[in-house]
């Protein structure tokens, strides 16, 4: 059986590092000037946000194991990519996440209990807070990318100062929709940010089997749009890259394709067994020990005297409480009633749905067994 023995993976190999944008190295040292663009409060916000998401993600995996949640897609290891990108947006920007980007959605304003509801299979699980523009997670691969072109196009037509960001994985770059989205965005110069988290795998298929292009960012050239390859575990680099993309977009310079190199430590979803296709322990240990996004920022913050273990413990405790509050809210939320499945199929309803809803009500009233 063929397994990817190299813990760094071809798509993430040393040979590619020079064309990758780094700011904060794994030892927590700044190797490229940040030009006073990231102040202490932003740094702390970045770290705390990553800590919140890591706590949330681990809790979710546990809830799935306890049978309190359905199949779940973990993102542990990708916190810098999700937090860094989301923090670089403004409140009114449009976000198109996938099933793995609820971290980014939370940072952009989605409420924790809603995310729980989604994974608990509640009909109300993809509703975003009033006034926010966070779309439901896209389950089909790459299809949301074209929507982000459309919203951005409309922003441009209406003269609104907003960008649209589409999240996707490395596997998504094989789908036709990826290419159509980049092409449209290029032609109409839409303020769209295409944010790829290249975690090296599309379920079991490693990037080298997915694509023969060396990088994803290089494909920007084919559409004559801006392309950047960035260390996705370096939150400073991610934030600065997305900030620049936002500025480019708002100043009329069009879309940016960002390839953030990262890694998810866990399985593709809680229904997947990664041991079949990769040396799971070896690869995860390598990434955890050498490239973890939280560790490197923490090292930096410690050195600068901005953060200590006491704060860390206190914050984790607060986050656990916050998450528990949201979990309770989600679990106490009135369960989806079967008759609600007929709501919102159309804006106005229709005779056939009314009849079918009535039929189901009758069945439920008579206590017909399943």
């Amino acid at each position: 059986m063929e397994k990817t023995g190299n813990p760094i993976m071809k798509a993430h190999s040393n040979g590619d590092e020079p064309d990758m944008y780094h700011v904060l190295n794994p030892d927590g040292e700044i190797i490229e000037s940040i030009d006073g663009k990231i102040d202490k409060s932003l740094m702390l916000k970045m770290y705390e946000s990553m800590l919140l998401l890591r706590t949330f993600d681990r809790k979710s995996v546990n809830l799935q194991r306890q049978g309190r949640m359905g199949t779940y897609a973990p993102f542990e290891g990708q916190e810098a990519a999700q937090v860094g990108s989301a923090l670089a947006l403004s409140a009114g920007d449009w976000m198109f996440p996938t099933y793995r980007d609820h971290g980014a959605a939370i940072i952009h304003g989605q409420e924790l209990y809603r995310v729980f509801l989604y994974w608990m299979a509640h009909l109300d699980g993809s509703v975003c807070p009033e006034g926010k523009r966070i779309l439901p997670p896209s389950v089909p691969i790459a299809t949301q990318m074209v929507h982000a072109v459309g919203t951005a196009w409309a922003s441009k037509l209406k003269g609104e100062e907003n960008v649209s960001i589409a999240y996707f994985g490395d596997g998504a770059t094989s789908e036709g929709d990826f290419h159509e989205a980049l092409n449209f965005a290029g032609v109409y110069k839409t303020p769209t940010i295409f944010f790829c988290q290249n975690n090296g795998y599309a379920i079991s298929v490693p990037f080298e089997k997915q694509s023969s292009s060396k990088t994803i960012s290089q494909r920007a050239a084919a559409y004559d749009i801006h392309g950047v390859r960035v260390d996705g575990n370096d939150i400073f680099a991610v934030w600065l890259t997305v900030r620049e993309a936002v500025e480019r977009a708002l100043s009329g310079q069009g879309p940016t394709l960002i390839e953030a190199i990262t890694f998810r430590y866990g399985a593709h979803t809680t229904a997947d067994n990664p041991n079949i296709y990769r040396n799971q322990d070896e690869v995860s240990t390598f990434w955890r020990e050498n490239r973890d996004p939280l560790t490197r920022l923490k090292k930096f913050l410690h050195r600068e005297g901005h953060w200590n273990e006491e704060q860390e413990d206190k914050t984790i405790k607060q986050f656990n409480e916050l998450i528990d509050t949201h979990l309770q809210k989600a679990e106490a939320y009135p369960k989806s009633s079967p008759v609600e499945m007929f709501d919102h199929v159309y804006a106005g309803g229709s005779w056939h749905l009314k009849e079918q809803q009535q039929e189901l009500k009758q069945i439920l009233k008579k206590g017909v067994k399943k």
């Binding site: 009909l123 089909p140 989806s336 079967p338």
Partner: protein, 327 residues
Amino acid sequence: MGKSVTMLQAITEAMDQKLDHDERVMILGEDIGVNGGVFRSTEGLYEKYGRDRVVDTPLAEAGIIGSAIGLSLNGMVPIVEIQFLAFIYPGFEQLVSHAARMRYRTRGQFGVPLVIRTPYGAGIRGPELHSESVETFFAHTPGLKVVAPSNPYDAKGLLISAIEDPDPVIFLEPTKLYRAFKEEVPDEMYRIPIGQAKVVQEGSDLTIFAWGAMLREALNAAKKIEKEKGWKCEVVDLRTLYPLDRDTIVQSIKKTGRALIVHEAHKTAGLGAEIISIINDEALIYLKAPIKRVTGFDVPVPPFSIEDHYLPTVERVKQGIVETISF
């Protein structure tokens, strides 16, 4: 000789034997190689036949189905796995505009022998878009054949026929039944003809037409009704959804005079409507009661917390039987 296997094992065995016997056969899909498929239906085949015959493709359904069309045109026999039915849509264009029409457009010069296998249907507590039952899209497309087995024995025999069929076949595998039960399956490469329904239970009072996972609901309901009311239902497993086995449908109606159709697909324009039309055309005068449908509702398959209420249940089927017989 034979052995007791699940539907999943029967499907793997069919592919294994065809790969072994015919060098032109190959499998293409996402995660089907090293990973052995997300449901493990291709388990062991990559190791046995190698990466050129069991191919982990890029994540691109149009690419997979489109290149399979070309492979098939040029003499290969591709079996395509689409990970879940709802993810076939990026490749839908290739399927309906090209695979289905190639023979017609070339006046028989080129055919596209090709099998597209995909898990489908609800009842597995899957995430969004993992439980759809949209067989109508394919049964509405001239040039395609649509097959949906309901047990391990049929799955193996039908899949072998599908692989040997000169036309493109959509092979819908009821996910809920993959591991639901085992059944004796012969070791040899036997075939079940595409286009033939099967009377799985004889009866005289009413015919239930079903397929896939709903066949079990139909049989259970028939059993219960017989116990409770003494009515004998005939149960027909359609097995091939396009083209439908008109003769078996009509013969059964001539015998029972009543029909109930059970499918988990949405009601509107579901295959039930087509079956009713066939009966109207061919056997109207034999009918003693209007034909009823027990189906999934006309709503997107809801999240798993309430998906059981979307699906036809034994109770709903029983109720349909009662209403039809006591009309």
